[in-house]
Amino acid sequence: MYLALLKELLRNRAAAAGLAILVLAAAVALFGHFWFPGDPWEMNAAPMLWPGEDPANPLGTDLMGRDMATGLVSGARVSLMIGLVSALISAFVGITAGALGGFYRGWVDAFLMRLTELFQTVPQFVLAVVLVAIFKPSVATATFAIGIVSWPPTARLVRSEFLVLREREFVQAARTLGMGDLRLIVTQILPNALPPVIVIAALNIAHAIQTEAALSFLGLGDPNVMSWGAIIGNGREQVVDAWYICGLPGIAIVFVVLAFNLLGEGLNDALNPHLAAK
């Protein structure tokens, strides 16, 4: 099934381009430090060297003389990791809430829907800022905060799928066979509800990467980790004189976010072909 899906994605030019960018970004994140070894925090050259000015620092240096390329490689790792893990958290919370509400209905559903609405009313980014600021900025709190503010759309989607699927014959059949609720939810309904969830998860990763960058930009990043948002935040004071310090990590963010969006749309076309006509 996965091979067929991959083939389908590669036939779609936009999705294939997205996949290519992501493979490249993953390669930079995983193997980049072989090309640019060393500590991204080390101040080992003249400050504010423009890209190409000195071959030792091909992408230049920042305000403190730290190598930009090393920082960008470190940022790729941080961004992708936080993006993936927080999207997993968000999917887990969203699927759990949506599945329970849609399966059991009644007061469980009513309670979970109120909770979902509450989390949708609160400005998400402001809540993430509050969580990270109060629980001390770190990779863990940022990941957790982004995951915890972004689950409502997934929950709503899973709930509506469950409301329909629970009435279907194969579910009734499994129930008649004496299957317990948990097995019914996990082995029967969930696999059928997953395709749209996968699409929303891809889009969530894109959004999470942007949110992480925004948090670091505001100074709420992990003080020990060099991320793209942190490089932009550190460079903003001199943005007029050395715009590349903010420019380069921003371009990296744009490409990765664009790639996940393209992948999400491609997955949507491949997994929900009846919607593709739109």
């Binding site: 109120r114 509450l118 949708q120 009313t121 609160v122 400005p123 998400q124 980014f125 402001v126 809540l127 800022v129 509050v130 969580l131 600021a133 109060i134 629980f135 001390k136 894109a206 942007q210 960058a213 925004a214 930009f217 505001l218 100074g219 709420l220 932009i232 903003r236 943005v239 007029v240 715009w243 903010c246 420019g247 921003g250 963010i253 744009v254 490409f255 976010v257 664009l258 969006n261 393209l262 739109k278």
Partner: protein
């Protein structure tokens, strides 16, 4: 038209909906309390201690106020009581009650949000209509690439780059603040000054939503081009322009309003970032200052207040929606 006959209905609707703000306040207050309970240190440490400027007497009074020596439900009761009476506490860093601070910054944020939404809705409509009218042709393709890219741009980064280009390199527009503080302007000149300062932040904030609305209008209009009432209009001999602008567009406005209502929270989040880039003196800038000062009581107050604002704005969107579509019951 029939607008005036709906006014009593609108008033009744407003009365009913305003009551729905109460559970939101309650929910957010509960959430804030939970965050404070889970935070390292006790509530008063977080609220006043981190701010570093509270006097020991005040902290002792706060501890007694919150009843920290009493069980958690009692504490919750006290916290909710304070919140419901809109007593959001005092900010030592800014030396002002939190509520007053927030209300002072509110107009700037509202101006920014409304300006940005105006730009986003208007340009989204124009681009969406063009791209639906010329679907699959060159104009449509250019617009869809534009949409794809703007959708991926981080707002705060776009703002920084806009400052570099339009303020520093070209010198067209000011890069920070809401007014020129070096000169005292009044009347029309003052308005012009504010407008010049609003332009860059509003455009920056608008970009993302512009992309969303363009896509939405395009999809909605393409759907309507096949609908019965459009065929009827065509059969009556209406021109394509008239059909596009009066028949399809009017109906495509409805999903736009729905989307706008859903996105109010996200727009406010975007404003926080844009304000901290452009030093815009609004709620977002206040949030940024409170992060820097570790003034968490202020930060929690902003969270509560902005959620209430989203709920109230949502009610306004519902009213506009009902005016656009007479079939909707309020």
């Amino acid at each position: 038209m029939m607008l005036h006959t709906r006014i009593p209905a609108v008033l009744k609707f407003l009365r009913r909906r305003l009551w729905q703000v109460a559970p939101v306040v309650f929910g957010i207050a509960l959430l804030n309390f939970l965050i404070l309970q889970l935070a390292p240190g006790d509530v008063v440490d977080v609220l006043a201690g981190e701010a570093g400027a509270a006097t020991p007497e005040y902290m002792a009074r706060l501890r007694a106020d919150f009843g920290l020596d009493r069980p958690v439900p009692t504490q919750l009761y006290h916290y909710l009581k304070h919140t419901v009476m809109l007593d959001l506490g005092f900010s030592f860093r800014q030396n002002m009650p939190v509520l007053q601070l927030i209300l002072e910054r509110l107009p700037a944020t509202l101006l920014l949000m409304i300006a940005a939404m105006g730009v986003a809705v208007f340009s989204g409509l124009v681009l969406g209509v063009i791209s639906a009218r010329f679907a699959q042709r060159a104009a449509d393709r250019v617009i869809s690439i534009f949409v794809l890219v703007t959708y991926a741009l981080p707002t705060f980064w776009l703002g920084l780059m806009a400052i570099v280009l339009f303020s520093a390199k070209l010198g067209w527009l000011p890069s920070s603040g809401m007014t020129d503080i070096s000169v005292e302007l009044t009347g029309l000149a003052h308005l012009r000054d504010v407008a010049r300062h609003t332009l860059l932040p509003a455009l920056t904030l608008a970009t993302f939503y512009l992309a969303v609305y363009t896509k939405l209008i395009r999809t909605a209009m393409l759907e309507y081009f096949g609908a019965d009432f459009i065929r009827t209009a065509r059969a009556k001999g209406a021109t394509e322009t008239r059909i596009t602008l009066f028949h399809a567009l009017r109906n495509a406005l409805l999903p736009l309003m729905t989307m706008l209502g859903l996105q109010l929270g996200s727009i406010l989040s975007g404003a926080v970032l844009v304000e901290s880039v452009f030093s815009w003196p609004g709620l977002g800038r206040l949030a940024f200052e409170s992060i820097l000062a570790r003034d968490f009581n202020l930060l929690l107050g902003i969270l509560l207040f902005s959620s209430v604002m989203v709920t109230v704005l949502n009610i306004c969107v519902d009213v506009v929606y009902a005016f656009l579509d007479p079939r909707i019951e309020l």
